[in-house]
Amino acid sequence: MSNRRWSYFFLLARIAAFFLPDAAALAGHQAEEPKTRKEEGAALQFPVPPPPFTPGIFPCSECHKEIKPNPKRRVLKDEHTNIVLNHAQGQRWCLDCHDAANRDKLRLVSGEKIDFSESYRLCGQCHGDKFRDWKVGVHGKRSGEWNGKKEYLLCAHCHNPHDPRYKPIQPLPPPVRPETIR
């Protein structure tokens, strides 16, 4: 009688041993579920409209191919006089962002040359927090479909890169006061 009881006990132990590793593996798998949201990396995932160039100014090489680059920091007197740098002007000037050799490109700190249509990567070098928010659609305007195709705007669509503070605009008319309704 007691022998049989022991054999039942062993049988149960075998069954438990058979199932337990699986259960442990399952629990481990659940713990590995990704907790961070998808990081969107490639430029293709940010559908942006063309950069807001002043009409007729692009490609820059149209004029600049004739001009020898002058890497000396100076106040521009002949051309681009309308550009007043109001964006950490003490720390940088034109050629920190515009590439001296290829004027149709922007230049990252790493030396990488990028298109104007990818300018958010340039801005993101300093404004990492805004760049992070922009990528997930929290900073800046995003239009299109809330559950489908979305449209982004480049930083430069709202912020003049040379003077980035958003400029005040005229408000639309206030509501009618109830006392004026007849």
């Binding site: 239009s143 479909e145 009618v176």
Partner: protein, 308 residues
Amino acid sequence: MSDKETRERKIFRLSRRKALKGLAAGVGALALPGKDASASFWEAFFQKNFRELGKDDLRKVLARMEKEYGAQYGRAVKVKATPPIEGVQYGYALDLSRCIGCRRCVYGCVRENNQSRDPQIHWIRVLQMNKEKGVYLEEAEQYYNPAKVPEPGYFYMPVQCHMCKSPPCTKVCPVQATWTEKDGLVVVDYNWCIGCRYCMAACPYGARHFNWKKPGLPAAELNPDTHILGNRPRPVGVVEKCTFCIQRTRENPGRYPACVEACPVGARKFGNLLDPESEIRYIIENKRVFIFKEDLNTQPKFFYFYAT
């Protein structure tokens, strides 16, 4: 029989019962439409509450409305009854650090949702508040009109329907003409609303508006893409409110609400609260979020946040 008795028998005496009968008949006759009433009037008169409409009934109702509005505005009007999308709870977030108070959203909403132009109805109210006072409603100003906004020292807080999870407005409706849909939208059945305006008194956000007169909506400005619970032309004497642009957002894929599209600074964010990848979830998980009149426990699905 004396003269007096004869007279009493013949004279018309108005008893309480007779008076009530006559009154009821008279009032009933007044309520009847005249000879110009069309069949569609009677159909509208006997139309059931939206939530009790069967599929066939609904189709007939939509067809009737399209015909009616088509005749009224002289152009084709589409009236949809798109049902909620499974697994969606709409949420809205507004960045107080970005809003400049330009009121582009107010007029974008008016154009999209066919609000009455005259008398004027705005579903969005933009409050200007002093930065030193914070959200202090006693000194909030909605009639500000400087040459340029934002004015230094002020911040701006647009207020519209908060799509409360525990909405005081639907609780007070005596006829259940307003309710919460499965996707969290609080909607109004304009045919069922009796215009008592209890909901307007109950709403702590001032988000509901009453059509005191027949809405003045020029046919040229009509948005013909409408939803039966949203932006279809309203009759006089009913309450209306923001629906997060139900006619846009219930589509799949659906466009962002008109106010999101109109905002020039990108302060308005919209998405599905049940989707962990949505921008609205990112905001709630990562930003400083503020709920307007949180102490009333209305549990809004509209959040204010401060992104910087």
